[in-house]
Point group: D2
Chain length 374, copies 4
């Protein structure tokens, strides 16, 4: 389905970096969800370049909801959100020399030369603003059900943020604090060091990658499906739609493979009548299904491909080798801006998985549905 | 779609560990593909427990093709492969105390107590034999097109295998060699050490995890889709259907996030008129689409959950905390047996992605289609 | 998705007429549904040739449930039902001369000559036994919720059955009576005349078609989706999967197009607090969504293609025109045998639409879910 | 998937009658297809009310392509077409008394009262303009491949148009002529009589239904799938998404059920080396797969529900019975305006089925692909 994702709550993406608009269609949301313009604007502003560590392209993100919302609430029919591209300067973009680590070459072959190459076209990070607009629609609804989603930059430029607390209550508090930060880290001191590294890379005409870590609290037991629609499958599927993502790991992930079974297995205990685990190496998921513990995962973000240094490339128009220097200024690191994107993608997957597990009304009724036997 | 995966080539899984049979339905395979019984048997035998490092359960895997194959070739209609469960001893299995790190608890909640709990039921690794039977149907067809898929144990018990060669030709040769090995490693010396570690863990009533690494050579440029059906999304989605998998990374993955853009970006050059990259940090995929370089990824395999040591758990029948000792013998590590599963899952995803990109005849015509402009 | 249908409750078909078995995989059924062997056997026996008006091929339909059922109840995981082909005599079947009105020619072109041509292969009516086995699993569950599904032969050989009563209670009673009849008509006198016509056609080496009419009572308001997943879309989609079906009409259908708006529009009134309509020209569906009235539709069944008369054809092996006489004996009319198939297909669609509208538990909780606001 | 349809070429609909815009996202179209603004405008104008027989609402249909088209050609990425609603007068619409034969009541129950009720909201025929915009994108591409699609009003107000010619060449010519007519009939004399009947009904504050008949010529053999994705299933599924459609029949349809097998079976002959049938009772489809003859089907269009006469209804706000008079003027018959909608829906289904059968390049290469063995 290429640009459509989900089973019961679906999202369809469209748009090119320098076309008239980017946007999305979200279908299957329960009727009666409050659509909170401020939440959408806030989330979009968190994704927008705004600081020294980002590109200077400044899109106002004047999104417009074309359908599916009436009197401030979802109607249950498809919500189309359009975000016009207002700051496009197509003159900056060449056609022919493929930018290494970008989709220029693969898109050119796949689309037989008919691709809109300007600014990466449909492969541009610009399209993630549509994901974020969708996230801004879904996240407040999940929050009302007691589900929180947050992402922090866990590593960048050799600097590590401290980890989420193991206490779910504290973790939920940390998630809340992350929404308010321009540079989403748990330790502002670590954040300062990361920013220093990013600035240094920028000055050096270079770029950095990093690792971001996400936590979801408040998710009930029983969300996800066996085998092909495991919650891990769905989250991973959606995350890898974001071009810069090159890896995902749940719970203790790759590091956890070095533990022995006796160390890795999360001991199960009762806590006020609720089954919990004393550790969370499984990242809140067993057999593809949520176990009631926080769902945690890390995502590997590759260094921004566009750097202002000469690079070896091939020009697919001339068929010759070339040296390429990418002009214009670009994000020296996208770890900051990717956090609201990851939150949004997570929210979309969680909303879909909840509806699949409990039926459409779960997005407005929450516990009243998942705590009874319905 | 829970137990069905794929767009044009689809696979549907069914079965429980101790039910009459496990199996799969593969739909959308091009008519005229030779179905090679020996390939299926070989691949199943590679997955089957066979050595000191595996469980002693010995399933003969007498699979039966119920449909979709006629005169030794695919007909183009659904292929149902059934593998009877012949070695089931249900007496060994308890109901109530959840085995930590297993799906017992989550399945119990999700299925309201109606799950077939025996041996993990539908969540048992036993079902992967159906994936492997499907892989045995698809892999020889891909091989005929010049596409090779291989997986080696890259890390287990603190021991590291050497990496695949960077030369595609050598890599293809290494892939071939892995198919012939009982313990699929590139360095047999490293393999011996890993086996020693697994045996030691087994003696200690413990288990090990590990990391396996996969390479796909011979894939043409242009396979995969933008955004939600990126080749990474599809591979990750399918891999996380396997219960023990807790992470996946493409190319240089998490380690690659520590590189700068100038180090990470794969320089592009011409090699006999073909566009290649001098490094492969992107794992052969840009913008979700194959770039003609080998597709490489690593998968994190958690330590086998079943260990013969007392573990803290909760009994969901009594609602009380318990200490659990799992009897019977189990795989002290599944890194060996998971390799053909990963190969199979990869083959299914690649076959689907090829048909989506080039149409159904690509699975029998290969280059004749993808090298022309059709 | 070819051989898979449905959104939340899905069915995947497999099998060829003369292969080892036909069958299906039903996924997404709520855990805890009683699987009633007698219901499955009964429904299969209603589809089985059993009288003078059917083919003499006598398949025992010894179906086997391979997965997804435990202790007599659904587990919530995929149910694979296999029905071995035991009465195959492949010698009867030619390859080359296409039987007119059959899929021989189209399958030969589509599958490049690799199709299993014996007895129509995957296009054989034999595969509908798998649909019926699925129906036998689903129908009793719907019955428990107060939903009844029945189909009668409304026209055959120039004879018309009387119509369903307009009273829903009487209609439900009529539906019940149809399940018990060998030749499902509301007026046995009309049925006798139809049987006479079928026998006359058979003696004349000819065949008859007919129209069958289906009613669904007890369906709540609000089932179905706007636009592409309208209840009519879903039912029509599924019905046309059955090869002999050439038309479907809901409510007053084609005849209703001759009414004026003032005659066609169903007046709305209250009946014990429930909104009802005084007529049912819309067949219980408005805007693709059930309105609480009985869902009614008719299906056009073409005359059985296989007749023992010389027919003009083309031999696709020789590329020459030929005269073909089909030997063996065949159903002179399938209107009788198609009724349980239509019932089954309807049940599968209804189950899926219910789960999509109300969540998975609706199939065991029924009114407790759809009458509250959950 | 509710508002998304298709396997490889997909369409997603959005919009409400009185919201900011209606529109669609078309995904999976081959790159390099010319997007012909005039064709889109023409098709939209054919759907637009323009004569005495239609509603006086006059939407300019100033559609805007937001993505997926570059330099006048498809890029291969999603095409979003937005059509602003410019002529909305919401004051005309009541909330509470359900209009009989409309979706007011079912939508109100399904969406728990959160539906945008103005002018039928998401259930309005207005949304079909988005289908037509999609059709205008796809139809010229099919025409270039030699595939023609046309629909005529075959019956309305007791008047019958003459039927399509049986010669495929003449039929193709007739299809062409239909595109140029304001009132698409084959016999203008019959058309005049129909218009007279519609005018009479309008004067009488009443409305008419009708039957429209569609033909597709030039389709190669082998398009469509067995069972659930039969070409009939796909076409029927898509047609029933249009609210006014209550029936569909292929070939000789319901009337054909009255033929004997010897009369119904289409005799097969050779014509210049091509296999043809001498009659076309099967409507160009056998076993769900196109046989190379014209695909023909009729669609039942119910009388327009909105009539300016008192009607019995129930007010779902007060829960009381009411008499309702619908004010404003409405189409006294939509048989004229539905023809380009049916053409468009047919084109979308055919494009999808072609890509599924032959791969994505078929939409630009046509015969070069389907006539070779690729």
């Amino acid at each position: 389905m290429r640009n459509t994702f989900g089973s019961n709550v679906t999202i369809t993406l469209f748009g090119e970096s320098h076309g008239p608009a980017v946007g999305c269609v979200i279908d299957g949301l329960t009727p009666g969800i409050d659509v909170d313009d401020e939440a959408i604007r806030n989330l979009l502003s968190r994704r927008r370049p705004s600081s020294i560590v980002d590109t200077p392209r400044r899109e106002p993100d004047n999104y417009k909801i074309l359908s599916g919302v009436f009197n401030g609430k979802t109607t249950g029919t498809p919500i189309c959100i359009m975000i016009p591209n207002e700051e496009t300067k197509s003159g900056d973009y060449l056609f022919g020399p493929a930018r290494p680590s970008h989709a220029d070459y693969t898109a050119h072959v796949k689309y037989n030369g008919f691709e809109d190459y300007r600014g990466g076209g449909h492969f541009s990070g610009r399209i993630t603003s549509a994901l974020v607009a969708a996230g801004g629609t879904v996240i407040p609804a999940l929050n009302k059900l007691g589900i929180s989603i947050g992402t922090h930059i866990s590593e960048c430029g050799g600097q590590n943020d401290r980890d989420f607390s193991s206490s779910e209550a504290e973790m939920t508090e940390e998630i809340r604090s992350l929404q308010l930060k321009n540079f989403p880290v748990l330790s502002d001191e670590a954040g300062e060091k990361m920013i220093g590294q990013i600035e240094a890379a920028a000055k050096d005409c270079n770029s950095l990658g990093g690792i971001v870590k996400t936590a979801v609290t408040g998710l009930p037991v029983g969300v996800g499906e066996p085998w092909f629609d495991s919650l891990e499958s769905q989250l991973a599927h959606a995350m890898f739609s974001v071009g810069a993502v090159k890896g995902i790991q749940f719970g203790s992930g790759f590091e956890g493979t070095r533990l022995k079974g006796s160390e890795f297995n999360d001991p199960m205990r009762l806590n006020n009548g609720r089954t919990v685990t004393l550790s969370n190496n499984n990242g809140g998921i067993n057999g593809g299904i949520s176990n009631g513990m926080p769902v945690t995962f890390s995502v590997a973000v590759k260094p921004t491909p566009s750097i202002a240094r000469p690079q070896q490339t091939v020009n697919f128009l001339t068929g010759k080798e070339e040296e390429l220097v990418i002009h214009g200024r670009h994000d020296p690191a996208i770890v900051r801006r990717i956090c609201p994107v990851i939150d949004s993608v997570t929210a979309i997957v969680i909303a879909d998985a909840l509806v699949t597990a409990f039926g459409p009304q779960v997005l407005v009724k929450g516990k009243a549905i998942w705590n009874t036997d319905l």
